[in-house]
């Protein structure tokens, strides 16, 4: 009798061990904090016009082109820029400027995050920093460790060059470490450095980055401790990365290089939208089976089959292509705010309504394109608007240089209310009645002038 129990006990123990291991491998977000720069760093359209005007390299045509780009970009009047632009030194930025820009962000946001969650810096076991355009010695991750006096055996990774899609890559590293070790707390810091990447030449494809990118950043605290499950905000369900670097057109469409005169800048090629769409479609193809309910997948497969068969027998008159409905598996969409065109294209592809893309549009309007941290601002908007309820699924997707498209799906662990968010002070004024740039009509005068006789009148004040 006793000898029967023993193997049974062993079996149960084995099964429990496997289950227990799985339990400890979940990736939870404890909290996150987005960076709100101080108000003296605001870049209005008027100021942008001024910045363009004082660049002696740019002529009338460039002025027109850039103003048009800024005004129709969907970026509002309250976005933030690096300090050196506001101080008028953008033509000769120094390393000090870049470091100050980063310090402003670190000291503000990471402090707030630690205070909010009550976790001390010495409890952090993993630190991942991704700031694409700045690589200094010692690394920015060492800078954070130095300032917060973190432990000696910390696992630290400093990712650079990975573009606007770097957030899911950082989460991927943390997710993998969580699967190998228990009771780990991780800190991800994501931002973008604009100071040293500021383009000072006159190639149009490169100046666009100056106009569209803005200062911003986010610090996220993650853990796989089961004890902290109650306090967690989100749980990671699934993460998919797609890399189209193998295709030459995708690789070359967003590239940092020197222009003909030797000025360094990031060149955005004309086939950027096409490369983005291809990577986007591939990524969706891979993640859709993992996140959508079986019902939707079956429906889509059936419709595709039916369409194929009707096409075979009936050569004329193609039926409309069946569109997979992502809203059956996803409640909220966090889209990378690459620009108005990007948001519109994604919305059209995924068949999203205005309500779905409102967070992304509002983030683009209020904070601009903050590169890798933009999806966190979008998430913060949804939280501030009290849209996130327990059990909701949030889908994050971002694109970046390379060409990469990375996406992940989060499940909301508890009803989230605003409690001290970056949008706190002004959420009630969103969405505004119109987000069109107020100066849209005012710049019409430029179109009528003849370039040879054009001069800005002395009493003209840029509105």
């Amino acid at each position: 009798m006793f000898s029967y129990c023993f193997p049974l006990l062993c079996l149960f123990y084995n099964l429990w061990k496997i289950f227990d291991r799985r339990r400890h491998q979940n990736c939870y977000i404890l909290d996150y904090e987005c960076y709100k720069p101080s108000d003296d760093k605001k870049l209005s359209t008027r100021f942008c016009g001024e910045v363009i005007r004082r660049n002696k390299q740019l002529g009338l045509n460039e002025y027109k082109f850039l103003l048009k780009a800024i005004v129709s970009s969907g970026i509002g009047e309250d976005t933030y820029g690096p300090r050196m632009v506001l101080e008028g030194r953008e033509m000769s930025p120094t390393l000090e400027d870049a470091i100050i820009e980063m310090d402003d962000f670190f000291l503000d946001t990471i402090d707030k995050l630690f205070n909010k969650t009550g976790i001390s810096p010495s409890e952090i076991d993993v630190l991942v920093v991704n700031i694409s355009m700045l690589a200094i010695v010692p690394s920015l991750s060492s800078r954070i460790i130095h300032h917060y006096k973190m432990r000696e055996d910390i696992k630290v990774y400093n990712l650079t060059g990975m573009g606007c899609s770097a957030s899911p890559i950082a989460i991927n590293i943390v997710q993998n470490i969580f699967k190998t070790q228990r009771n780990v707390q991780a800190l991800i810091v994501t931002s973008e450095s604009l100071s040293l990447g500021w383009y000072t030449g006159k190639d149009r494809s490169m100046i666009l980055t100056n106009c569209l990118f803005r200062s911003g950043g986010c610090a996220i605290l993650l853990t796989n401790k089961v004890a902290l499950k109650e306090k967690a905000m989100f749980k990671l369900k699934c993460l998919v990365r797609t890399h189209h670097g193998a295709k030459d057109e995708s690789y070359d469409c967003c590239k940092q290089k020197e222009d003909d005169q030797g000025y360094e800048g990031v060149h955005l090629g004309k086939n950027l939208p096409k490369a983005a769409t291809r990577a986007f479609v591939d990524n969706l193809k891979e993640i859709a089976p993992k996140i959508l309910p079986v019902r939707e997948l079956l429906r889509f497969t059936l419709l595709t089959l039916i369409r194929k068969m009707t096409q075979k027998y009936n050569k004329t008159g193609a039926a409309a292509r069946p569109v997979i409905n992502f809203k059956t598996g996803i409640d909220h969409f966090c889209l990378h705010t690459g620009g108005k065109a990007v948001i519109d294209a994604v919305a059209q592809n995924l068949n999203l309504s205005e309500y779905d893309i409102e967070p992304a549009r509002m983030t683009l309007h209020r904070f601009g394109n903050t590169s890798a941290s933009s999806i966190w601002y979008v998430l913060a908007y949804m939280q501030a608007k009290k849209r996130l309820k327990k059990g909701n699924k949030v889908f994050m997707i971002s694109f970046g240089a390379g060409f990469k498209c990375n996406s992940c799906l989060w499940e909301v662990m508890r009803d989230l209310d605003q409690d001290g968010n970056v949008w706190k002070e002004f959420i009630n004024s969103y969405p505004p009645k119109t987000i069109d740039n107020p100066f849209f009509e005012k710049y019409g005068w430029i179109n009528e002038e003849d370039p040879d006789t054009f001069h800005i009148p002395d009493d003209y004040v840029i509105p």
């Binding site: 390393l95 010695v137 010692p138 910390i154 630290v156 890399h243 670097g245 193998a246 240089a401």
Partner: protein
């Protein structure tokens, strides 16, 4: 030297006592088991075969009992194999060998220095003195853009250098291992000071047309110890993803970072850093076990960034003229020693044999209880490792470590010769050193290797490898054509 022992005139006898002690403690299990086995054997022989058969028949073997015991054995075996972390194998690695046209002998370097810094003869003198004592040889290489007077560090040139170094290393690795680009599942590239957009990892994906679901990571800013950080990341990823190959590329791109000013502390890196790169293939597939060269045993990382002096000792900043360069502080050696001590305290218990650990424990207890004046016992790491690969950061670093760890000249030979032939190639120097040991035919199966690297931050990382199969000297590598010249004697000061 442990001074708990009396004076060294009678050290000959002491040596044998120590040897005997080591054999005793390290093989203590064998010493217990052998008498027991002998006892059992004697007992069996005494009883005779018929008695043995009687005992056998008297055991009742029930079906249930048979089932249970076999189940138990199978269960224990499964649990044991499943709970073991996957072994990570280093299948092979390849180092970049710069072409002879990029050579920078001392005369070339000094001539360039005099022409570029003609207004600062003191700085030129300083560079000459550093070069004389640096331990570098005449065959180290700098990238083509730096050979211009003045150097032309454009982004195009930096990309060009990256392409040449990284692609040559990966091409040679693929030729050696026969791996196809489609088989690579994980890609990690580390280059400290050059990080273009799109990243160097995207550049590799583009050139070799790697798969679109590849997991790529681009680490930078992590200094000369970044190679081992990449290996650590690869190890964590390979634990999670079964049946995968990971390609790790470690390099340092010199072109954009050549200091063009005249501050002396920042001219130091110009004299030491040279072109180099390595590509390493790691795998956790069982079928690679037979052809892999090494197995990864431990990786230990120590970060001293919390300490102010450690953080500032390797610092990138602008000089008063606005030129960017890396400032190496004067306490670099002291800080390196401290970081090494921290690293050793963690790695010691993992790798040292029981004899050393006991000695260390006894001295520790002694110091605490009996007499605090006893000198701390420095464990003898030669017991734990056969080969040492110390990052060739500079002659002073190697000297300091040789003193701290009490290593012989042969142990640090690989590091010194790598510094002489290739200069300080930053994160890839460990792989050149490993190549040296293999080319000399010293690598035998079962040998344990300790790789130590320091980097800005201040970090000290170490990795422990175990050799999987004896490596013949015929393997090609960067040392192939010159290994017979080595080791060379490197004088303290080379008169220029």
């Amino acid at each position: 030297m442990p001074q708990i022992l009396p004076n060294f005139s009678s050290s000959v006898k002491l040596k044998y006592v120590k040897l005997g002690y080591q054999y005793l403690v390290n093989h203590i299990l064998t010493f217990f088991l052998i008498p027991i086995m002998v006892g059992i054997l004697v007992e069996i022989l005494r009883l005779g075969p018929e008695e043995m058969l009687n005992i056998w028949r008297s055991l009742h073997f029930d079906l249930v009992q048979v089932l249970c015991s076999s189940f138990l054995i199978i269960f224990i075996a499964t649990v044991y194999f499943m709970s073991k972390p996957r072994s990570i194998y280093l299948v092979d690695y390849a180092c970049y060998k710069p072409p002879i046209t990029c050579r920078v002998p001392f005369s070339t370097f000094m001539e360039h220095s005099r022409l570029i810094l003609k207004d600062n003869p003191k700085s030129v003198d300083f560079q000459m003195r550093i070069l004389e004592r640096s331990g570098l040889g005449e065959e180290t290489c700098l990238p083509p853009a730096i050979h211009y007077i003045p150097p032309t560090p454009t982004m195009e040139a930096a990309r060009g250098e990256a392409e040449v170094v990284i692609f040559s290393a990966i091409d040679s690795l693929m030729a050696k291992t026969g791996i196809k680009p489609k088989d690579i599942d994980i890609l990690i590239v580390n280059c400290s000071l050059f990080s273009p957009t799109p990243s160097l990892s995207a550049m590799v994906v583009n050139k070799y047309k790697l798969r679109s679901n590849i997991k790529s990571y681009n680490l930078s800013g992590m200094g000369c110890s970044a190679g081992l950080i990449s290996i650590d990341l690869a190890r964590d990823l390979l634990q999670v993803h079964p049946n995968s190959h990971a390609l790790v590329v470690s390099t340092e791109i010199i072109t954009p970072n050549y200091y063009q000013g005249s501050e002396r502390a920042m001219l130091l890196p110009n004299c030491l850093f040279r072109m180099g790169g390595a590509a390493i293939l790691l795998s956790n597939k069982r079928r690679d076990r037979s052809r892999a060269k090494y197995r990864l045993v431990h990786v230990v990382r120590t970060h001293k960034g919390a300490d102010d002096k450690a953080y500032k000792c390797v610092y990138e900043q602008e000089d008063p003229q606005g030129k960017v360069g890396i400032n190496l502080s004067k306490d670099l050696m002291v800080i390196a020693g401290e970081a090494l001590k921290s690293n050793i305290t963690t790695i010691g218990p993992l790798v040292l044999p029981a004899s050393e650990q006991l000695l260390f424990l006894f001295t520790l207890i002694g110091r605490k209880i009996f007499n605090p004046k006893w000198k701390p016992y420095i464990p003898d790491f030669k017991q734990a490792f056969e080969h040492f690969c110390i990052h060739a950061g500079g002659r002073a670093v190697i000297d300091e470590l040789q003193k701290n760890l009490q290593l012989s000249a042969e142990h640090v030979e690989a590091s010194r010769m790598t510094l002489h032939r290739f200069g300080n190639t930053s994160s890839s120097s460990l792989w050149y050193e490993l190549g040296y040991i293999e080319a000399k035919g010293r690598m035998k199966k079962g040998d344990r290797i300790w790789q130590i690297a320091f980097g800005s931050g201040f970090k000290c990382n170490s990795a422990v490898w175990k050799c999987n199969r004896t490596i013949s000297t015929k393997t090609d590598g960067p040392w192939q054509d010159c290994i017979d010249k080595y080791p060379v004697h490197i004088p303290e000061i080379v008169k220029l």
